[in-house]
Symmetry: C2
């Protein structure tokens, strides 16, 4: 592999914790007590349908920031947040720019960057991805986003745009994600695939899935419980690939 591209929400950052805490904070500022874990789940749930509407032409292009804001506006009344000022709503919407990384990500990316180009390949818009990189101290070689293709993953144009901009064959790129749909779509354009297990993506679910059980059902070139392990497996994978050619 020459480059690794990364799904971000869920794979690199813990959106559930970040959004739950932001909701709690916003609620406290206006005296609203609610289930902020459910608030995070509801906000995230609106995201897939809105992207699908863009991809199949029912809606024109808008960024994830715009999609997030439209979903948030629909949730405000139900969560007692309707009295937030416009500035506070904008600030709350930007929580997606400053989500916390999973604990293995910083060290994992540093390891992987020694021998590979690294970029996010996310449905988050470019400015959002810049915010997450600044928040978490990540060092990307460039920022790749669905915004550059004008379509959302899993549309094949997103993966093809990434390969074109990196000037690499798709087979020289590995898509890394916690979501099999993303990996399947990447593989369909010729990319290699690396699956990362994120059992706590949707918050405290009981019981969380176990890596050694779930990973056996995943169809990916590599499976790993964290980025550090992925880095080790990738070194073997790269050796195996060059030995095989």
């Amino acid at each position: 592999m020459k480059a690794l591209v990364f799904d971000v929400f869920g794979t690199l950052v813990d959106w559930h914790t970040g959004v739950r805490q932001a909701g709690e904070l916003a609620g406290r500022s206006v005296g609203s007590e609610r289930d902020w874990s459910q608030f995070a789940l509801d906000w995230r749930a609106g995201y897939g349908p809105a992207m699908a509407a863009v991809n199949d032409g029912r809606a024109s292009w808008q960024t994830i920031d715009g999609i997030h804001r439209a979903i948030l506006d629909g949730l405000l009344a139900g969560y007692g947040l309707e009295t937030l000022t416009e500035a506070d709503k904008q600030e709350l919407n930007k929580v997606w720019h400053r989500l916390p990384a999973w604990p293995d990500v910083g060290a994992g990316l540093d390891l992987l960057r020694r021998n590979h180009l690294l970029a996010p390949l996310s449905n988050g818009n470019v400015s959002l991805l810049i915010g997450l990189a600044r928040t978490n101290g990540w060092r990307w070689d460039c920022v790749l986003s669905s915004e550059l293709a004008g379509k959302y993953k899993p549309d094949p144009s997103v993966y093809r745009t990434a390969a074109r901009l990196l000037d690499l064959n798709s087979a020289e790129i590995m898509m890394v994600a916690a979501h099999v749909g993303d990996l399947r779509a990447a593989a369909a354009t010729g990319m290699a695939t690396g699956w990362i297990h994120r059992p706590l993506e949707f918050g405290p679910v009981a019981p969380p899935s176990k890596f050694h059980e779930v990973s056996q059902m995943i169809d990916a070139d590599l499976v790993a419980p964290d980025l550090t392990t992925l880095s080790r497996k990738l070194a073997d994978f790269n050796k195996g690939n060059s030995a095989g050619t």
Copy 2:
């Protein structure tokens, strides 16, 4: 200013020295002795007309890598390089991915990045800009390139695409370049401008221009002999701007 975007060839990297040395090395490998400084100038000279042909529709889009290769092919015979293998020609063409930075650039970018988003905004394609950043250890927040607009600077769409992807108003962005045409085009889209003096861009010309003489003729918001000085002047400029509003 919230973000600074940078011209790269000439402004951040010393293309003349890098290309001259690569020509010399290639020449030595096939026993050709020529004026490699002139080789660098000739290679660079073909670049403007090829980009203009793309911008005014006489040629369809191609990357700078493609443009560089076409120009190189036209120079090979005149410089005794026609016996290079295809692999060697490809390698020589990639010299534009590994040019050396001017001495002030590394420290200057580190200083500027403390308080601003930083990105190249270059006619170089994304993969070329990744190569230059890796070669010189630069840390960009994202990579912006004419490739993302499908037009070359000074087409206004290039500057507007950059502002859109950064999700900033043009007035929140400063274009930094050694070339007044680039700054003029950026200013026309509403960007602020910072001019850097690079008297040795075209190699050893006698006598090189003096900053205190030339800078007075430059129409830019800031003028500086190097990025470290720009960083100091920018701090004052930002203070002045916020005091004025």
